[in-house]
């Protein structure tokens, strides 16, 4: 049972949430809905010295996440957003298979964006509350089970003036969970968004998650680990299929980590603008 970590998918929600509009304001009066399906799989784990160890044969962790991310432009600079994930987890080891389907940690917050005079640089500040929509850890935990707060700073720079022609995104998030043992987390993203043409996009990104807690117990199975680090690479292709609908197909891999699972997975996401 050792090494079955579920924190990977918890963190993933954040990166998913940030990808929608990358911190750009959605526009006064507009709604943006982002529906995502994410499949994650972990067949081995990293120890506290960043060494990778495969699980025993037939042991793995997998999850399927359905998430809805909603943003609404209250004004030119302020958006309100919410993320609601629903997760099905499967932990299999030896002959035992544990599964749980439930809502996970929801996010609700505000984004304040500032755009420079030539409209090619955006600075956005997100403040969100984290609210667990589940209780208990049986048979598997859906998250840390405590409320938290998330502060994110995003900086985007569009070399060709208009962000629809491509941009860089630098994102820093600080998270704190209001439990005695935290954790405190630092989440970093570097993303490059290329516009192949007006309707086709290619994205690569590097995500880093650094979580610290006084609780360094990583030995218990099914317990969401609070003391870990990982670095994740991501490739994504997007295509605008209707005036107001864009689809993204994404693959990610976690090559480096500490006290975490070596995971990979894929995401299918639809972003709908209304109107």
């Amino acid at each position: 049972m050792k090494g079955l970590k579920i924190y990977l998918l918890i963190i993933l929600f954040v990166f998913l949430a940030n990808q929608t509009y990358a911190g750009f304001p959605v526009g006064k009066g507009r709604w943006v809905y982002s529906f995502a399906y994410n499949y994650a799989y972990s067949g081995s784990s990293f120890d506290s010295n960043w060494h990778n160890h495969p699980y025993k044969s037939g042991t793995y962790f997998s999850s399927q996440t359905y998430s809805l991310y909603i943003t609404h432009g209250i004004s030119r600079k302020v958006d309100v957003f919410a993320l609601i994930p629903y997760v099905t987890e499967v932990a299999k080891y030896d002959s035992i298979t544990l599964t749980r389907s439930d809502f996970a940690d929801a996010l609700l917050g505000l984004t304040y964006s500032r755009i420079n005079k030539t409209f090619n640089k955006t600075y956005s500040f997100k403040l969100a509350g984290i609210f667990p929509l589940y209780s208990g850890t049986n048979p598997l935990p859906m998250g840390y089970g405590s409320n938290g707060i998330d502060f994110t700073f995003n900086y985007t720079n569009s070399p060709k003036r208009l962000h629809s022609k491509g941009y860089y995104l630098l994102s820093t998030s600080l998270r704190h969970y209001f439990a005695d043992d935290g954790p405190n987390q630092l989440l970093l993203t570097i993303e490059r968004y290329y516009a192949i043409n007006r309707f086709n996009y290619f994205i690569w990104a590097l995500n880093g998650a650094f979580s610290t807690s006084i609780n360094t117990n990583t030995q218990l199975a099914h317990i969401s680990n609070k003391d870990f680090d990982f670095i994740q690479g991501k490739l994504s292709y997007g295509r605008r299929v209707r005036r107001n609908l864009t689809l993204f197909l994404e693959g990610y891999y976690t090559p480096f980590g500490r006290n975490t699972g070596l995971g990979y997975g894929g995401v299918l996401m639809a972003i709908l603008r209304v109107p």
């Binding site: 009066g29 030119r76 030539t118 409209f119 309707f199 209707r242 005036r243 109107p275």
Partner: protein, 490 residues
């Protein structure tokens, strides 16, 4: 009127030196603060919290180095004129300006600074003269404060004549622009005149034609050269482009500037029609240019019923007909946007007034606004500029009395139309614009009806001529986007 001269230090230099002292004193704790300083410096370098004076005018005189063998820092005198309100827009109280003169020479500078405040009709309102002495490598601030009685746009002229610098700098400020009024020379039969023109247009079979243009089309956009019949059966053209995606697209009608030839415009989120209005050649071929006038704005100017702009304004209405008649191409006819600059800005306002199918209007530096004031302003300040030069030339050479010329123009003066606009409208104007003087454009904006004005925005662009700033261009697109979204909600 008041003026104050601060010698040697500006506020900025005091803050800079305080910051330097803090850095030196805090050196031992800098190691702790380093990460914070790093983040701070990144934010500053990204201009995140910049509050620059976007309306200050700077002029720099740089001297040649006296030492050819040593690379010396260039010495200069820099004069910066800083209005007391952002953009030089004063909505109440006294007007105040700061004249900052920086001297990096090793020698002191002596001389005079003269400032004058001049109306847009070239009359001096107030002014002052100061004898100044600037120490080597230092700066001074001259603060001027004065009262203005009437709303309007004024030139703030600064003449600096000191040992190593001699120049005149012009800055324009607005005083209570929302109160700018101008007499309305609206003919009694103005409404009937345009109702008749629209009726005549409606009687013309538009006969829309689409020619798919493969070489101008892209993987993402289909481009068509379109053709339609307008008033007097004149054939007008345009480039029509539409994103190659399913869905209903808002439509952007781009209207041309004076003699402007459009290329197709491919927008990510809109179908666009770049309209080519009638040309002088077309009228000549149809025997509708009896004086063989070659200058567009002068064709039949002494005949209100045949002035070229009667047809031009109707061409724009026909463009709206085109959009509405071809909705099946994936066009959202509830969201038609008209936009243009200069002549195109005037056409956009007129189209929005004549045709209420327009949902949003964007107009940059519209000319033909408040023509009587324009005539006075331009004749006294920029008589050699377009279009005043052409109008003056015409009435001198054709022995047409100015009064008669203006009578025709009253039917075409944009300020007589704007009262009828019902859609949100954004107008931008440059303070140094000689073709569309800001006082005329603002007076026109002030004539929007109350309901429309509440939905609309006006932007004064400091130190800008007959163009718009990049900043305003993006802001306008954002504003149009927001209003497009709001229109959907209705």
């Amino acid at each position: 009127m008041q003026f104050i001269i601060d010698n040697n230090y500006s506020k900025y230099s005091i803050i800079k030196n305080i910051f330097k002292i803090i850095l030196i004193v805090s050196y031992p704790v800098q190691s702790i603060l380093k990460p914070l300083l790093l983040i701070g410096s990144i934010l500053i370098s990204l201009n995140c919290f910049s509050s620059s004076n976007n309306n200050a005018v700077e002029l720099v005189f740089i001297s040649k180095s006296h030492h050819s063998s040593v690379i010396a820092k260039p010495e200069f005198v820099k004069v910066t004129i800083i209005p007391g309100r952002k953009g030089g827009i004063f909505n109440a109280g006294k007007i105040h300006y700061r004249i900052h003169i920086q001297n990096t020479f090793k020698e002191a500078q002596d001389g005079t600074v003269i400032f004058k405040v001049i109306t847009d009709r070239n009359k001096i309102v107030t002014g002052g003269k100061y004898e100044i002495h600037i120490n080597p490598k230092s700066s001074i601030n001259i603060r001027t404060k004065f009262k203005i009685e009437e709303s309007g746009f004024y030139d703030y002229i600064t003449q600096v004549n000191i040992s190593d610098y001699d120049d005149t700098i012009k800055n324009v400020f607005a005083y209570k622009p929302s109160l700018i009024t101008s007499p309305l020379y609206k003919p009694d039969d103005f409404e009937q005149f345009w109702i008749k023109a629209k009726k005549e247009l409606a009687a013309v079979n538009p006969n829309y034609k689409f020619y798919f243009y493969n070489s101008k089309s892209t993987a993402t956009h289909k481009v068509y050269y379109v053709e339609m019949q307008s008033l007097d059966n004149v054939t007008i053209h345009g480039w029509f482009s539409i994103p190659n995606l399913p869905g209903k697209f808002p439509v952007l009608i781009l209207l041309p500037g004076y003699n402007q030839k459009f290329e197709p415009f491919l927008a990510d989120d809109q179908a666009t029609l770049c309209l080519q209005v009638r040309s002088v050649d077309q009228l000549t071929k149809k025997d509708k240019n009896p004086k063989n006038q070659t200058e567009y704005c002068l064709v039949n100017i002494d005949d209100k019923d045949n002035y070229i702009y009667r047809g031009t304004y109707m061409d724009c209405v026909r463009a709206v007909d085109f959009v509405c008649n071809n909705y099946q191409q994936g066009l959202d006819t509830s969201r038609i946007i008209v936009m243009g600059g200069s002549q195109g800005g005037a056409l956009a306002l007129v189209t929005a007034a004549l045709d209420h199918r327009i949902a949003i209007c964007g107009s940059d530096n519209p000319f033909y606004c408040d023509m009587h004031s324009y005539y006075d302003i331009a004749s006294s300040k920029t008589p050699d500029n377009f279009p005043i030069k052409l109008l003056t030339y015409y009435y001198h050479n054709n022995k047409t009395p100015k009064k008669s010329l203006m009578k025709t123009l009253d039917y075409y003066d944009v300020q007589n139309f704007v009262h009828y606009i019902k859609c949100p409208t954004i107008i931008g104007m440059g303070t140094l614009d000689p073709i569309a003087p800001p006082a005329c454009v603002y007076a026109t904006f002030n004539k929007l009806n109350y309901k429309t004005k509440k939905l609309s925005e006006v932007h004064i662009l400091p130190n800008t001529g007959h163009t718009i700033t990049e900043e305003f261009a993006y802001l306008k697109l954002l504003w149009i986007e927001e209003n497009t979204v709001n229109k959907m909600g209705q």
